[in-house]
Subunit: 165 residues, 2 copies
DNA sequence: TTCACGTTGTTGACATGTCAATTATTGCGG
DNA sequence: CCGCAATAATTGACATGTCAACAACGTGAA
């Protein structure tokens, strides 16, 4: 990241990262890969579900009781529709969710939690919240938390505006 | 995350997340999944390499010219050894890196960049740095950047201490 | 030397994600 | 009613990551 054309003459337009910037950048990448990994480990060890499975269970559990559309789930989670579809099929095989044809739209599928699905979220939620609290909220002061949220929002907003993200 | 046992009587030990906390948590997860995705898109569109491939190319390019050990690479990137191994095999097939038996240790493999590998990093680096700058460093003030790094470090340190991460 | 053990790295089976079709249905203009 | 573009979701091929087993090599003590 210090730039493989440091000494070049011609197109040295890009402003390479300083040492400080490199450190922050490294920290960000380790965070982005480490956080999902930590969540995954805790959930699979303690509750037998992966992080993505828990995300679906949690999302469906907070939806109206008559079920959610697969597409809405994909939009909510910001995932590919096919990813949701594959995952739902596997979760249906495990008996965590059910898919039944939507009443109003013949194309749609209404997703709901099974009894086992509810049991699993309820069993997994406390440990998950505890992990999140210990890892994120406890180590930082309220001011730091507020600032963190602002910074992340700025980053994401800027990226969306520029077509990245 | 608001807690699926809100009204329970017995084991309501976990401190559920407030609305504010839920928002930050959502922002963090979207960040953790969106950042790698943005990097991946930019790199594959502009340079024909995936984000992970670029990470390896960059890491090897900054190593001593006689090559790096596969294990050191895995440690540096905080990846599984087998992940590095699989990826290196694919990158060798594409002609980006070479693996030759280490001179001192018969088990080791010294990884080096091929000419095409060097060409690829050099071509990809400017666009990559520009993306990082536009997405991360430009939208935030120096104070915000410094605070961001501190916060991320605190989070990671605390998580490592507690055996999470 | 020799043998047990730790280290280095690879492999294969499997879980998961992405992308490009494909299917089925809806809604709408003619 | 018919045709046809848009929508909802699935499917299959493929890329990638994980995990556990394995093979090959080094190291040190008996």
């Amino acid at each position: 990241m210090s730039g493989p054309c440091e000494g070049d003459a011609e197109p040295c337009e890009p402003r390479w990262l300083s040492i400080e910037e490199q450190h922050l950048w490294l920290e960000l990448r380790e965070f982005a890969s480490g956080l999902p990994r930590a969540i995954d480990r805790q959930l699979s060890q303690d509750s037998g579900v992966s992080g993505v499975e828990y995300a679906v269970l949690a999302a469906v559990s907070e939806a109206p009781p008559d079920g959610v559309r697969s597409g809405d789930l994909a939009a909510l989670l910001e995932w590919e529709k096919s990813r949701v579809s594959h995952l739902l099929r596997r979760m249906e095989c495990k008996g965590l969710v059910t898919r039944c044809a939507a009443s109003d739209d013949g194309r749609g599928q209404d997703i709901s939690l099974t009894g086992a699905g509810w049991d699993t979220v309820r069993a997994a939620a406390p440990g998950h919240v505890t992990l999140v609290r210990e890892a994120i909220f406890d180590p930082l002061t309220p001011e730091e938390l507020a600032q963190l949220r602002v910074s992340l929002q700025k980053i994401r907003t800027a990226a969306v505006e520029k077509g990245l993200w």
